[in-house]
């Protein structure tokens, strides 16, 4: 089965500090990968998606960027965090055999 590993589970970072959230996929190859952000009590907002190594599509202009250095690795980054970057970040993977599955999420608090 396809498993999405995401870490850390929680993160508290000061304003202006860099960010790196990592997501890795186990159990499938060549998945489509996604980064979502969820505000409290709301639905998910798609931030980035990738259909292959080095291919990144951005859905929302913002302070964040994404990279896919390997087939099963998807990284969400920021050079300087803003207070508005606080939220719950979910990585997801999509493959023909296993459908759409999510990681366990990272709760980011920018202080």
């Amino acid at each position: 089965s396809q498993t999405i590993h995401q870490w850390p589970a929680t993160l508290v970072q000061p304003v202006g500090s860099p960010l790196s959230l990592e997501c890795t996929v186990e159990g499938t190859s060549n998945p489509n990968l996604y980064w979502y952000r969820q505000a409290a009590g709301r639905g998910l907002q798609l931030l980035f998606y990738s259909v292959g190594i080095g291919q990144i599509s951005s859905e929302v202009p913002q302070n964040l960027s994404a990279s896919r250095p390997q087939d099963r690795q998807f990284i969400l980054s920021s050079k300087k965090l803003l207070l508005s970057d606080s939220g719950f970040y979910l990585c997801a993977g999509d493959s023909p055999n296993y459908g759409y599955t999510f990681g366990s999420g990272t709760r980011l608090t920018v202080v």
Binding site: N32, G41, L44, L46, L90, A92, Y100, F102, G105
Partner: protein, 112 residues
């Protein structure tokens, strides 16, 4: 534009009762997928059930079943014999062309 609407912000039922969560969507696509996801307080997003648009038969997973009406663009979730562990936010989602469009969610509370 594709949209997903969940018209029930919150619902509560007694344990063991049956509850139906509504979802409607709007699209011009013919091939797509529909999902119901459950998000408990842990905030893990858990797939409950999935429906391919080309399949006429309604999907079923144990106590969870859907009523998929493609012409009406309706995709409701029925939970039978509800349990305390079913308490969670439930999101309806539409997937096509790498895009997963989400409803606003329904908060479901199962009362003992």
């Amino acid at each position: 534009a594709q949209t997903v609407t969940q018209s029930q912000p919150e619902m509560s039922v007694q344990e063991a009762e049956t509850v139906t969560l509504s979802c409607t969507y709007d699209t011009s696509e013919n091939n797509y997928y529909l999902f119901w996801y459950k998000q408990p307080p842990s905030r893990q997003m858990i797939l409950v059930i999935r429906q391919e648009a080309y399949k006429q038969q309604n999907a079923t997973e144990n106590r969870f079943s859907v009523n998929f009406q493609k012409a009406a663009k309706s995709f409701s979730l029925k939970i039978s014999d509800s349990q305390l562990g079913d308490t969670a936010m439930y999101f309806c989602a539409f997937y096509s062309n790498y895009q997963l469009i989400w409803g606003a969610g329904t908060k479901l509370i199962i009362k003992p």
